[in-house]
Symmetry: C2
Subunit: 135 residues, 2 copies
DNA sequence: CTGAATCCTGGGCGATACTG
DNA sequence: CAGTATCGCCCAGGATTCAG
């Protein structure tokens, strides 16, 4: 058939757009930050090096799978370093790299914005929800 | 039984920690930013007001459902304003609020960081992957 | 202690069709 | 034009178990 359905056209556009998005550094970073555990790990490590078990305790509720997955991804990206001390039992330390530290600065900026404007957001929500009640 | 399994303990910790996290402004903001479409919508609107159909065209591949969902969430948070002009056919304009504009600034900071350091990240990845090949 | 491998479930997201 | 309603798929992520 010569024509595409609306869905097919959107699908095509989506695939192309996805490629564009994946190639965009900003979105790559946003994807990282989007991960729930990443910011927690970075925040935890910004206070200094920590062991695997320290992290799993400090970041309560994380499953070993997700912790490992997160740590591996961040190590791959050069955000943190992984140091194995072959003692018995094994000891592994994680530490932010210089790159990771600069990323932590970004998180600080986000944190600052959040603390500065969270009240406005809450007020906006209450206003919005109040209007919804009326209707 | 008197004791809890590791899973149960972690589950309990997770629930408590979730409550803590939800109350944290930084994480609330991170959650917003984490949404794939949010940054795209904000970026699109940072160039000026747009209509619904303009957005769905500019942000290729977004389904009407997700676009609406995203717009509603951002409106609720006071990030953007929704203006209905009851003509025939209906016309709806979306525009960043002042709060939304300040959020856009944050995105700019993220963008700057990403563009500055993306090379280092890529190099780190290649190094990491190269080592993986050896083993 | 630090993970790797496996199974499994929930709900987020996309596609589609329909309304004012 | 600007959405709403509904269905179904898929896979991210949690639980669990085992290994070095």
């Amino acid at each position: 058939m010569a024509t595409m359905t609306a869905g097919q056209r959107r699908e095509k556009a989506r695939v192309e757009y996805d490629a564009f998005i994946r190639a965009c550094p900003t979105n790559q970073l946003l994807d990282r930050l989007s991960d729930k555990w990443v910011s927690l790990v970075v925040a935890a490590l910004s206070g200094g090096p920590m062991r695997y078990s320290d992290l799993s305790r400090k970041i309560a509720g994380v499953s070993p799978k997700m912790l490992t997955q997160t740590l591996r991804a961040l190590e791959r990206d050069g955000i943190l370093s992984r140091t194995v001390t072959p003692s018995v039992p094994v000891r592994v330390d994680y530490e932010l790299t210089e790159l990771g530290a600069s990323l932590a600065c970004l998180l600080t900026a986000v944190k600052t914005w959040a603390e500065t404007h969270i009240e406005e957001v809450h007020e906006a929500r209450e206003r919005y929800d109040a209007e919804a009640d009326v209707s």
